[in-house]
Symmetry: C2
Subunit: 246 residues, 2 copies
DNA sequence: TTTCCGGCCGTGGTCAGACCAACTGACCCT
DNA sequence: AGGGTCAGTTGGTCTGACCACGGCCGGAAA
C-alpha cells in the first residue's frame, strides 16, 4: 500500500543534519519576513489563498493555517467577499496597548497575577506620564482634559459613564505626554485595574476625585511638572487607600 | 443552558438581531472560555481533534483553525506523536514579558516607533524597580547580583558575553523587586533597547559601568532605597549620554 | 535476563477537491 | 434613475485520505 517515492535522506552520522521546518512554519515565516522587510507594506493586499498555495507549492490548507496564525498575531486582516483578501495590518503603538491589555486580562482572570502588582506598575508609570504631560501638552490636549473634567463635575456618581470618563481622563494625560509607548502602557494598565473602583462609590469620594482631577489639570495647564506630580501622587494615593484599604 | 449573557436587555428597542458568529470563532471562544473558567486546567490535555470535531459537530478543519489560533495566542501547546495532543499552556507573568518583547520588536523594526521612547519608559520603570529591590531583596538575589558583577569585572569589554551579563544584571534586579509585572516589563524593555549599547564601547566606559553596577549592588545589599535610586539614576543617565549623544 | 530494534498505532500535519457564504460590480428590468 | 438580479471572486467550511511524528510493546540479539 505504500510504494511512493520517499524524499528522506536524513540518516547521516555527520553533523550536516539541519532542522526540518514544517511547511506551515516556512510559509508563515516567509510572509512575516516579507512584511517586516517592507516588500509588503501596510494596507497592501496579499495574493489570494489559492495563488499563494501555487507560489509556495503547498496546499491551500497549509496557506490558510499560516494566514490564520498571522491574523491572530494582528499582522494581517482577512475580509471575505469579492473585494476581500488578506491585507497587511498597519500595526502601531495602539495595537501594543491592546495586546498588553488582553494579556494582562488573561493573567488576572487566571489568578496567576494579583491586581495589586499591576496597579503598582501603573502608578509608577502615571507619575512620569503626568510630568511629561505638563511639559509637552498642547492646547488641544488641554481642551480635551477640561471638557472631560467638566463632564465629570456635572454628572452624578452613579452615572454609567463614570468609568468611561475616568478612563478617558487618564488616557488623555498619557497621550499628552508625547511618549506613545508610555501612553499605551498607561492606558492598558488603567483599563485592567480600574473596573474595581466604582462598585461602591460614595458621593464624597466622587467629589474629591473630581477636585483632584481639576488640580491635576490646573498644574498641566500651567506647565508646572512639579505641581502636576504632586497632584497625581495625591490622587493615586487617595484612590489606593479606597482600593486596597489594607 | 445559556452560554451567552447580554447586557442590552435594559434597552427595550427591537434589537433582536445578533452578530452571526462563524463556526471557527465559536469553537475558539468555547475552548477559551473552558480554559479561563477552570474547566480545563493548566497542563491538561484536550480531546483529540477528531473527538472535538464530533463534539462541536464541525469538521476537523474548523477545529484545527480554532486550535491554531489558540496556539498562536499561547493558550495551548500542540505536540505531535503518539502521546501528543493539545495541552493547556500554563501562562504566567513570564509569557507576558515575551509577548511584550515580540510586539515591541515588531514595532521597532517596522519603524513606527522610536527606540528613544521605549528606552525612556524603561528608565521610568527601572528606578522604582531598583528601589523595591533594595527593600525586598533576599540573600539569594544578592548572591546572584554579586556573582554577575564579579564576572563583569573580570571579563574584557569585547567579550561576547557582555550584553548577556548586562541583561542578567538588570533582570536580576527587576526580579528582586518582588513585583512580577514590573520584572517582566523591565526585562522586555531592556532586551529591546540594550543591543545598541555595546557596538562601540571603549574600555573606560566599560570600567565605569562596572563601577556603577557595584555601587547599585552595594546600595541594594545595605537595603538603602535612596542610595539605590541615586545609583541607578546615575547609571541610566550615564548610559543615556552614551546612547543618545544628542 | 537485559538491551535494542522494528513494527503497531494514535495523534497532529498536510493534501486534494468540492461546496458554502459573503461581497462586488455589472447588467437588466421597471 | 433606482432597485433588484445574477455572475464572479475570495475567504470559510466540509470531506476523506494520506503523511509525519513519537510512545509502546513484542521479539530478536547480546
Amino acid at each position: 500500500m505504500d510504494s511512493t517515492l520517499t524524499n528522506d535522506e536524513s540518516n547521516s552520522a555527520k553533523l550536516i543534519g539541519q532542522r526540518v521546518l514544517r511547511p506551515r512554519q516556512q510559509v508563515e515565516e516567509r510572509i512575516r519576513a516579507a512584511i517586516f522587510s517592507g516588500d509588503l507594506r501596510s494596507g497592501e493586499r496579499l495574493p489570494a489563498e489559492a495563488e499563494l498555495a501555487r507560489q509556495f507549492e503547498v496546499s491551500r490548507t497549509t496557506v490558510r493555517e499560516a494566514l490564520r496564525s498571522l491574523t491572530t498575531q494582528n499582522l494581517i486582516d482577512k475580509v471575505p467577499g469579492a473585494g476581500g483578501g488578506s491585507f497587511v495590518r498597519s500595526i502601531d503603538h495602539h495595537s501594543l496597548g491592546t495586546l498588553l491589555q488582553e494579556s494582562l486580562h488573561n493573567l488576572l482572570t487566571l489568578g496567576s497575577l494579583g491586581g495589586e502588582e499591576v496597579a503598582m506598575v501603573r502608578q509608577y508609570l502615571e507619575v512620569p506620564s503626568t510630568r511629561l504631560a505638563a511639559e509637552h501638552r498642547t492646547e488641544e490636549d488641554l481642551n480635551e482634559l477640561r471638557e472631560i473634567v467638566e463632564q465629570q463635575r456635572t454628572i452624578s456618581v452613579d452615572d454609567p459613564n463614570v468609568p468611561d470618563l475616568d478612563e478617558r481622563f487618564h488616557a488623555a494625560i498619557a497621550r499628552a505626554s508625547g511618549n506613545r509607548v508610555l501612553g499605551s502602557f498607561v492606558h492598558a494598565l488603567h483599563r485592567e485595574t480600574e473596573p474595581v473602583h466604582y462598585l461602591d462609590l460614595s458621593p464624597s469620594v466622587g467629589k474629591t476625585t473630581v477636585k483632584q482631577h481639576q488640580k491635576i489639570v490646573k498644574a498641566i495647564a500651567e506647565r508646572d511638572p512639579d505641581a502636576a506630580e504632586a497632584a497625581i501622587v495625591e490622587h493615586l494615593g487617595y484612590l489606593r487607600k479606597h482600593l486596597f484599604p489594607s
